[in-house]
Symmetry: C2
Subunit: 224 residues, 2 copies
């Protein structure tokens, strides 16, 4: 067992070093990088579409992570968003090495916001940094209000929590108070944005927050 | 990297050996074992409650897997179902060693059906056997119809696919034909049961299928 653990530690440490280099290189280009986490079917793609549309003239890119398929990349491309696909072939999360391989395929010469849509999985992606400024967590109403209690790390690591599919609140049991308490138990500071990707409700506040976060964190990154 | 791979292979092989022993021991007791997979919030617990109630006098047990919390175990216990909790503390799937540790806590002296609710994750739990006769996959309508294309292994390994939360079909976009084609692309044989855990619709067919599967597979297990 100790051999397994030492290999794992070395994987984390190699990944962290590479992620720090990727992050530094993106920040130098004035690019704010957002690692988007969420379970399968929480609505990460539909959330990103709303956010990107809300950002208007801000230049955006998407790195799309999936085990297989390029369904979401084709959706982004059809909307005019520059997007590239990582297929992990089985791996349950993206890592810094995959990011290093894929980033040269994007034209990153302007300042802007790079979104990385991680594998749909509330567990493993939370363990890894892949060059991002922040992690954004997308949950959804039909998943149920107990998720922060069951999947604590993703909530701990999130700079903001997005509660998607609020249009389904009339049709499912969801205890918003229990959910909010769960988020707070893991994370005292992250704002919670209740949104509906299908109606667009709630996105203006999220977009404003994201723009402020981008300005603030890039200022820190670029401070002499 | 080769060191990492050899450790992984050894983990799989040790796990498989232990899982086979657990499986043989359960089969000898005339216990049919079902490893229940599904993403976070697909409704694994509510599906199991409906199935267990549908099974009537059949003796059932639940091993409940979560990273943290015992919310679902308390639900099962409150309904009179014998249930025990595994908290992995971070691991994204159950393994045979965890099963070996927990099973002595259950009174397994009667024939019956043992359900193991795995960690909510459409990726990693599909890679491991933990002593089961079959894997059962729970998906849900609000997760979207593209899941079989994006998370192929869970669909490949499932003996049956349950499409839960069909009561939400009027309120979300879901292409049933695209979903069914995706399931068939991964798995030519698994039946698909459309159910609603909130209304109970669709469960009688699933329960009948499960009883037939249990009889058939235990006959194979117990053949001289």
């Amino acid at each position: 067992m100790s051999r397994t653990i030492s290999v794992r530690e070395s994987i984390y440490s190699e990944n962290d070093t590479l992620a720090a280099a990727i992050h530094a290189s993106l920040a130098k280009k004035n690019i704010f990088t957002v690692n988007v986490l969420g379970g399968a079917g929480a609505g990460k793609t539909s959330t990103l579409i709303n956010v990107i549309q809300g950002l208007g003239d801000v230049k955006t890119w998407v790195v799309e992570g999936d085990i297989e398929s390029d369904i979401d990349t084709r959706t982004f491309l059809s909307l005019g968003v520059e997007a590239v696909q990582i297929n992990t072939g089985g791996d349950c999360h993206l890592n810094a090495s995959m990011m290093q391989t894929i980033l040269p395929l994007l034209d990153l010469r302007k300042p802007g916001i790079l979104f990385i849509e991680n594998i749909g999985n509330l567990v493993c992606p939370a363990e890894f940094v892949i060059g991002e400024n922040i992690k954004l967590l997308v949950c959804s109403v039909p998943e149920g209000s107990d998720k922060p209690w069951k999947y604590p790390l993703a909530f701990k690591r999130a700079a903001a929590v997005i509660l998607n599919k609020t249009d389904l609140l009339p049709y499912v049991k969801f205890d918003r108070d229990f959910f909010d308490k769960g988020v707070r138990a893991q994370n005292p500071d992250a704002p919670i944005f209740a949104v509906s990707s299908s109606s667009g409700a709630g996105f203006p506040s999220l977009v404003s927050w994201l723009q402020a976060a981008a300005a603030e964190r890039l200022a820190v990154d670029l401070a002499p």
